[in-house]
Symmetry: C2
Subunit: 673 residues, 2 copies
């Protein structure tokens, strides 16, 4: 041992010069035991009432559907730590996951979940459909998407682009799943730029048929959910060439498989292959080899072709014809947005519950270790995101009502709100899941704990149903168009929540007190100030560019940074407004109080954004005040942490073992079981 | 058709009130064709020379290892679009992926890849080991981690914590894989807080054995890479109880499986289960049921126990003993950091190459669609990240040299740099992969295109080998300690790159010209100003808190926001410094010019951070100037885009089909093949 000892001495000399590596000052022997957060945390407001408020509608129906899933072995129940959890087995092969998705859908159909989805009056059923899709997506993204593609994209195309003849023939058959639909819009070479698609359809006057063709490899239909294995029919978007003139993109119905699942003649189908998420959806590719379909298979609400081959449309403007063909996407964006909110809730419920049961390090020697959620830095990581989830809930409810009650007059608002909320909610969701997974440490990486897996599963949301970046450009363009139109009319702003532009420019107090910081008028002023100023600024810059000879697209491209800041300013103000309106409906009391703190935390978090300092809306001192205000709100919300995530109304079985007794769930006895 | 027509009219009325949905103004028929970026882009600097500079060492050796992998069917070569790609089959089951990882390691061992890794003098071989691990991680994270655990953690524990006896017995056997090691430190209940682990070891004087025990479920060893299937031995970290005194955490060698793979008596092992990435590594859990090992199995460089049970350590301070036991982690952090840089390069090479071949939308009617990379907004998304990857490359090379030449005197620097760079690089990497995946649109989600998959694969890096948040806290604490020590000595700053604190506070010009903005002195001033001011600020706040009665841990917790800003400021300044030093070694010429642009872009991107405005280091006007400077650098770098990612030196086979002819790769003929 002499040599060992000598070496030890050398090491000692090293160490005396060296700081202690990391990690703690505790030396403890007592074994950890789990205690459920319900034992230590209390509820000062009614969590059921809060849930009713944020779910907004169909609460009992949601619970019925949760129950249906919990009661069937198809939803893969597993006992961990003495509790049952349902979640797909994501370790299955892609093929197995796809089959399970379809079996689950069949089961739900048998139980009547989809009854009326395509045949009842939309206004009466759309909220229930949304609620059910939200619940399905809490179980699994794939099942939600597979159902959504069938009903919202395929079904929506027939409803909105077809006419009575199509409705009669297809809607009930689709609702029954006699017909299984998919939606063939995107191609390998064209995604966001739908007008550039290369599939070509011509009309054969001799037979009265349309001839649909994939002229080259980049024209293959791509990412078509349902196409690879299960769909029997598709709606194909294609350029329509009539008498040598391209009439632009139109939608046609095509059968792609027979009832036995055999691929139809002149159709070729291939798989899109394994994806980082959504492997329970059979995304496929389709080639059309001069496929012939009868004339009535053109969805003809927008235009039709007469028997002798004349193209007839009451919409003379091709841009407007094109816009009309995109109608089915709007419902898709609604659902993508709202589902993103619910995924955030799943992540937050898991991360907050874990942080209420996991301890690390102690503040003084021989003291017990501290709960993660009692660290100010951990509160700062999670509570602004809880506030964001609440804000998005109110915004989602507003969006659903707007969609349900949409009229010709509100279509522009629906388009701008759907673009803004879809992009904002899905980006927020990815950010929230990222933080939640890191806040759960290594346990966030276990597939069964869900929070890490959800990131890959929902990543697609940022680029499908409209790439977020492009959707946000749409928002800034629409705001600019509105600005120009209003100035031309000289009548004041009314649309898109821009009424505040008619008032005097708000003034931010030079030294807002902490009372001011939590006042909704101050918060609204701060959000409106940024939006109006950026809009003025953006309009001026774009018109400068145009004056220097740029096309409007070039000008938008050159001013993209202002455009991005503006569209975020619009989105955050619009979301905030829905929060204020929801809060206003409540009587004074503990529920309203806690919502007030959440609303303040949401607003101050938005106001902490660099844009406030960059454009001088806040002084450096005010910025520091906002930051202090955020820390204060976080500590104020700490006692409500459990109640705030319990109010999300997600049954325990749909969270994960990490949210409950994770020591039992990992015990040796659970290995042997 | 009358009804149809009527409905169409109603639709028309809607549409006249509605903006066109999104997405483009092009109506094109010509089919897309792929042209390789090499045909249109040119190289104005020597990409080989650039690669030598950023790889820094062992370039030929890297290519040899790339070649070894490309030549073996074990690396799963697949032809797509006429090119061969190697990549693991991530659709395999967890068990299959684990077996493939081991088979690949055996093949590489046969080829002599690991020769000398544990038996040659560290200074002579450590850079080659780093290079090989970088190359392995470009193929697959699992193989790199499995090799890294065996050599850096198991092997490192024996080297750094063991003495000659252990070296003689274990190092060669480990290098040959006769012994397969793992590293049992983390437990279910304690990860970051290693001192809190609950495994207990006592010494039995009667038999001269240590008795290692898992006293409760939270003490089970957790996340132990290699434990679930393959490892024969482990180093166990455990509290050592001698004569009723807990001497703290010590490391012991334990055999866990016999040569036939049977689990040894009194050892229980379970799987950690499916993870969101790294499924080729068999992470497991271990319980020790009073396992007996001979006295010499204590790794005794830090302390030893005599035959009659006396605890003897020349290191009287338990904190320093503990720090010594953590030595093996340092090499781990080095490798995690550097691998993160190479993953960023894979993501960027794919996203940039794709953006040089994918078009979307046209700026004027009937013009061709525009390449993604010709949009200023797309440049702004990607080029600052390219600059970051270059900056991290230089910083990684500096870190490797620092590690290789480490001395007792430099240990503190190694600790702070390893904490700072590990956290910063891995967070940067996740951000870069996220942006790259979104920049690739839907194609970023296909597993075979790699960029999306890498996100899940490398997510673990943010929390393993030291949780990033805690590591960054270590940085701010170390800076504070240095500050206090220097002020006490009253001698000026020398360590941790803080020499600039001795100089007068830099002054940022009130209206920097664009020439100033690209001047490295200005950039360094801006980075140093932030660091020094935040350090002053942080020291003052912490000492305020302490004056009000807080413990030092409480004070750190209360000042966490300043601490976070400070540790980021330190990291970015330290990284920048390595960039400047690398640039300084070059003669004037095109290589130096382009690096100058990258360096400026990196510095300005750091300077655009909200902290510059928040603490008043930049005026609003200067902030706007910085922003304009960034846009300018991006357009300046556009012509070099291809050369910049080619210089990463990653063979085509290790990128993905999306980086090359993605139309061919998706053609029908490839489906039939």
């Amino acid at each position: 041992m002499d040599r060992a000892f000598q070496r030890t001495k050398i090491f000692t000399n090293h160490l005396l010069l060296q700081s202690s590596d990391p990690l703690s000052s505790l030396s403890s022997n007592a074994c950890l035991s789990y205690s459920t957060p319900e034992d230590s945390e209390s509820y000062v407001f009614d969590v059921k009432q809060m849930r009713n408020l944020i779910d907004g509608h169909d609460v009992e129906e949601r619970d019925w559907l949760f129950g249906l899933m919990m009661r069937s072995d198809l939803f893969n129940p597993k006992v961990r730590g003495g509790k049952v959890f349902v979640s797909p087995d994501y370790t299955q092969s892609m093929e197995q996951q796809r089959e399970m998705t379809m079996k689950r859908i069949e089961y739900l159909q048998d139980k009547g979940v989809f009854k009326g989805w395509l045949t009842e009056k939309e206004e009466d059923i759309v909220l229930r459909i949304c609620a059910f899709l939200e619940v399905l997506s809490i179980f699994d993204h794939s099942i939600k998407i597979r159902v959504g593609v069938h009903f919202f994209l395929w079904g929506g195309a027939i409803k909105f682009l077809g006419t009575k003849h199509h409705h009669d023939k297809w809607l009930r058959a689709s609702e029954n799943f006699t017909v299984k639909g998919c939606f063939a819009m995107t191609e390998l070479g064209h995604g966001s730029n739908v007008r550039g698609i290369e599939t070509v359809t011509t009309y054969d006057t001799n037979t009265g048929e349309f001839v649909i063709n994939t002229p080259c490899e980049s024209a293959q239909k791509y990412w078509i959910g349902g196409a690879a294995n299960h769909a029997t029919h598709t709606v194909v978007f294609s350029q329509l060439h009539i008498n040598g003139t391209n009439q632009g993109v139109h939608a046609f119905l095509v059968q792609i498989r027979d009832a036995d699942g055999n691929i139809c003649p002149n159709i070729r189908i291939a798989d899109c292959g394994h994806k980082i998420g959504l492997n329970g959806v059979d995304n496929g590719r389709i080639w059309f080899d001069n496929v012939r379909v009868p004339r009535e298979n053109l969805l003809n609400a927008v235009a039709y072709v007469s028997h002798d081959g004349q193209y007839i449309s009451p919409i003379k403007n091709p841009d407007q014809r094109f816009a009309a063909s995109m109608a089915p996407l709007r419902g898709g964006r609604l659902n993508v947005s709202v589902n993103a909110v619910y995924q955030s809730k799943v992540g937050l419920a898991i991360a907050i519950r874990y942080a209420l049961t996991r301890r690390a390090f102690s503040l003084k020697q021989n003291e017990p270790e501290v709960l993660l959620l009692d660290y100010p830095s951990h509160q700062r990581r999670l509570f602004p995101l809880v506030a964001k989830a609440y804000a998005m809930s109110f915004a989602a409810n507003y969006f659903k009502m707007l969609y349900r009650k949409r009229t010709p007059e509100s279509n522009k608002t629906v388009h701008v709100v759907s673009s803004s909320f879809k992009a904002t909610f899905t980006w927020n969701n990815m950010q929230i899941l990222k933080v939640c997974r890191e806040a759960c440490g290594g346990q966030g990486l276990k597939t069964e704990n869900r929070v890490g897996h959800l990131k890959a599963e929902f990543d697609v949301q940022s680029t499908f149903e409209g790439d977020n970046t492009i959707l946000m450009q749409q928002v800034s363009k629409a705001l600019l168009a509105e600005y120009v139109a209003v100035r031309k009319r000289n009548k004041g702003f009314t649309a898109l929540g821009l009424g505040h532009m008619n008032k005097p420019r708000p003034v931010i107090p030079s030294q807002p007190t902490s009372t001011t910081l939590r006042c909704s008028e101050f918060q609204m002023d701060a959000l409106c100030l940024r939006e109006r100023d950026l809009l003025d600024h953006f309009v001026a810059e774009v018109s400068n560019c145009r004056a220097r000879g740029a096309s409007s697209e070039q000008a938008f491209n050159m001013c993209y940074q202002l455009g991005e800041d503006l569209s975020r300013a619009f989105s955050e103000r619009a979301i905030f407004q829905t929060f204020v309106e929801a809060e206003a409906t409540l009587p004074a009391g503990s529920l309203k109080d806690v919502l007030g703190s959440l609303r303040s935390l949401y607003a101050l978090t938005c106001t902490e954004d660099a844009s406030y300092l960059r454009y001088g809306y806040l002084s450096v001192d005010n910025g520091a005040g906002v930051r202090r205000g955020i820390a204060k709100m976080c500590s104020e919300l700490r006692p409500h942490a459990l109640a705030l995530v319990t109010s999300f109304g997600i049954p325990d079985a749909f969270l994960s073992p990490l949210a409950f007794n994770w020591i039992d769930a990992n015990s040796w006895s659970s290995v042997e079981a």
